[in-house]
């Protein structure tokens, strides 16, 4: 398999919300990058983690599996997981795999952050 291209930047918003900006390809091979981002974002003060998929270019089934692993880690820390920026194609994949039942999907960052406040 090709080496993947992905960057994941972390932004802390307020004291308890962190946004992970995902750019590039999400496959099983980028798990170390995602988990590093999680280490940075999901500290003890974080109650909600928001994944920004606006820069997502490619995702395979290994990528979906990796998101499930992230979900388990977040649940273990009692952190909510949300997402925004998904194209119609990727939103359908979340719905097909029923990942949307555990990761709340928002249309944009403002909604995702408002969701954080509710």
């Amino acid at each position: 398999m090709d080496a993947q291209v992905v960057t994941m930047g972390v932004r802390h918003i307020g004291g308890d919300v962190a946004v992970v900006d995902i750019k590039g390809e999400v496959t099983a091979a980028c798990e170390p990058v995602l988990m590093s981002a999680y280490e940075e974002a999901g500290g003890p003060g974080t109650s909600r983690l928001v994944l920004n998929f606006a820069g997502l270019e490619y995702m395979n089934s290994g990528g979906i599996g990796m998101l499930v692993t992230l979900l388990v880690r977040a649940n273990r820390q009692r952190q909510q997981l949300a997402a925004y920026g998904l194209s119609d194609h990727y939103r359908e994949i979340f719905e097909l795999t029923r990942l949307d039942e555990a990761i709340t999907i928002y249309d944009d960052e403002a909604s995702a952050l408002v969701g954080a406040a509710t």
């Binding site: 398999m1 090709d2 080496a3 993947q4 291209v5 992905v6 960057t7 994941m8 930047g9 972390v10 590039g24 390809e25 091979a29 980028c30 798990e31 170390p32 990058v33 988990m35 590093s36 981002a37 280490e39 940075e40 270019e57 490619y58 995702m59 395979n60 089934s61 290994g62 979906i64 599996g65 499930v68 692993t69 979900l71 388990v72 880690r73 649940n75 273990r76 194609h89 359908e92 994949i93 719905e95 097909l96 795999t97 029923r98 990942l99 039942e101 555990a102």
Partner: protein, 276 residues
């Protein structure tokens, strides 16, 4: 079986903005359109010869999020050498998928092989002459991997990804299951030998594949990690769809059902006889 709390990976914050390969390197972006199945709410089934084909039509798909039991990631891996490319391995696997299954189990898929959106019907040997009738949905397929997802009532909720990759000159093939037992009954069954049986199943499958690929002495490496040791009790009602229970009941009821069909058939035959 290894039970761990999940993969722990520690990296410095500086590594977070990590680009494994620079996008600016001029590599064309990959496109996953057409590799994923179109969204379905419930499964449609085309009946196929040689399998009972029950417990699939109208069922919803279930991922690890919807399952009941502990979450496991089970990986079965095999080196197939230098002569076979990942694409060749996956092409062979897709084209002959049912042939690699252990005896007594049947996979009835589309004649065209494995394509996104296909629904395959399964009869699985569970002992005592009973076949567990269930199915799988082809969630994703490309040149180097394909993924099957399970419906309600299957032993586990999750997916199995079959893939091949090249490291140096050597190609490795892999089956990786990410799953939770679908309901409390299956969780008990998995604990009481189900996991061992599943391991044997996939080891046998990979061994058969490797023999087809010309590997002289295949050795399958097995690794199981408990990703989440918590059970999801809110999904215990999945037991309603349990295909094992339903298959047993369907097997017991088969003589009565058959008699019913016979009687209805003979009535129709009598009605259609011309009056003398």
């Amino acid at each position: 079986m290894t039970e761990a709390t999940g993969p722990e990976r520690v990296r410095s914050a500086e590594q977070i903005e990590l680009s494994v390969r620079e996008a600016a390197a001029g590599v064309a972006p990959r496109n996953d359109a057409g590799r994923w199945a179109a969204k379905v709410d419930r499964l449609d089934v085309v009946q196929r010869d040689g399998v009972r084909g029950t417990n699939v039509a109208g069922r919803r798909l279930t991922g690890p999020v919807q399952g009941f039991g502990k979450m496991w990631q089970k990986t079965y891996r095999l080196t197939v050498g230098t002569a076979v490319t990942p694409e060749q391995a996956i092409t062979t696997w897709k084209a002959h998928f049912p042939e690699f299954w252990p005896a007594g189990n049947r996979f009835a898929g589309a004649l065209t092989g494995i394509s996104p959106g296909d629904v395959a019907l399964l009869d699985l040997a569970i002992g005592g002459g009973v076949k567990l009738s269930t199915g799988v949905f082809v969630l994703y397929a490309d040149e180097e991997a394909f993924t099957l997802m399970t419906p309600q009532g299957h032993m586990f909720a999750g997916w199995i990804t079959f893939s091949a990759e090249r490291a140096g000159d050597t190609t490795t093939v892999q089956a990786q299951v990410l799953m939770r037992a679908n309901d409390p009954l299956y969780e008990i069954a998995m604990t009481l030998g189900g996991h061992r049986k599943e391991d044997k199943f996939w080891v046998a499958t990979l061994t058969a594949l490797s023999q087809r690929l010309g590997v002289p002495d295949p050795k399958v490496e097995t690794r199981s990690i408990c990703v989440d040791s918590k059970r999801q009790w809110r999904h215990s009602s999945n037991v309603w769809h349990n295909s094992m229970v339903r298959s047993v009941l369907q097997t017991l009821a088969a003589p009565i059902t058959g008699l019913g069909h016979l009687m209805r058939g003979s009535k129709r035959g009598m009605k259609s006889q011309p009056n003398g």
